[in-house]
Symmetry: C3
Subunit: 137 residues, 3 copies
Amino acid sequence: MTEKLQKTPITPATHTTPPAKFSHGVKKGNILQVAGQVGFGPAVAGQAPTPVGPSLREQTLQTLRNVQAVLEEGGASWEDAMMVRVYLTDTGHFAEFNEIYNEFFADLKEAPAARTTVYVGLPAGLLVEIDALAVLG
Amino acid sequence: MTEKLQKTPITPATHTTPPAKFSHGVKKGNILQVAGQVGFGPAVAGQAPTPVGPSLREQTLQTLRNVQAVLEEGGASWEDAMMVRVYLTDTGHFAEFNEIYNEFFADLKEAPAARTTVYVGLPAGLLVEIDALAVLG
Amino acid sequence: MTEKLQKTPITPATHTTPPAKFSHGVKKGNILQVAGQVGFGPAVAGQAPTPVGPSLREQTLQTLRNVQAVLEEGGASWEDAMMVRVYLTDTGHFAEFNEIYNEFFADLKEAPAARTTVYVGLPAGLLVEIDALAVLG
């Protein structure tokens, strides 16, 4: 007899409501998917989400924190992350992005996630978007 | 004793043959992956696939229907979708796309899938491409 | 009693060290994720990674070989691949890319993976990047 798997939405308290009918994260079985996160600061009631400072550093760190908030709300951590998809807007940002990424993951104990980095368009003001796939257990 | 998992291709009758050696969808274990779908209308024998009307609305709805056809052919539904990847060609389309997306998913009962939306290039005439990952069971 | 799943990094001998804290591949349970691969030739100690020849054909074949090396190092093969994400830089490359892709997969026995192809920016000199998700077993 197989137990019916439950699909659970993940909504950290720090996150603004998504701008459409999607979840910041969902978990089903041992799979946790984090939606594309950007550098929005913590949600403030009644205010539209705003990216933190204009620099790549500030936005990248906030974006990674936002991904992490979804992982943690779902009972996972970066140690469980299998894939990190990075969307930058400028190939000239690659070296600096990697420095920030390495600092952020300096204390990671298990193998770091795989990663793909590509250069796309993003809404005005956004320099980076990141999503992640985790396998728990 | 572990049962060997079978990898099954998924090809809805409405779909034209892919333009290369890939599957519109594949299922293995409880994982179902839907390939990038665009706004092609139902396949007509002997005719090249053509996107429906030029508007974002028409193409988005047809693209979502095409993703859904693969999910359903594989025994899944939108309720099982974990991640929806949206590729738009114009950041100016975001607001309208979200309206259409919300209408399409108005009746969804379980948590909506996570989503990432980025802006890329697509072949001439295409405004949107969407793929999806589902976990069944 | 559930066995704790191990997350294993995958690093083929042919591969240069990633330019940041990520893995060329990771495996956990029956999920194997291959990071974005490009057309770098086999690693040479003390040398920066360099893409093979300038043509789409050369880069595509090398990129596919690099993905395959990660799959194989992780105990998988293309037969296990569920999703192949293709990032090209020029919509004009689609037809030729598909020809090369079909040749490469001519001997595939099981259903080919699903695929999404989009057009993005990549670092100078790179024409194609590919990542893959596999389910083993």
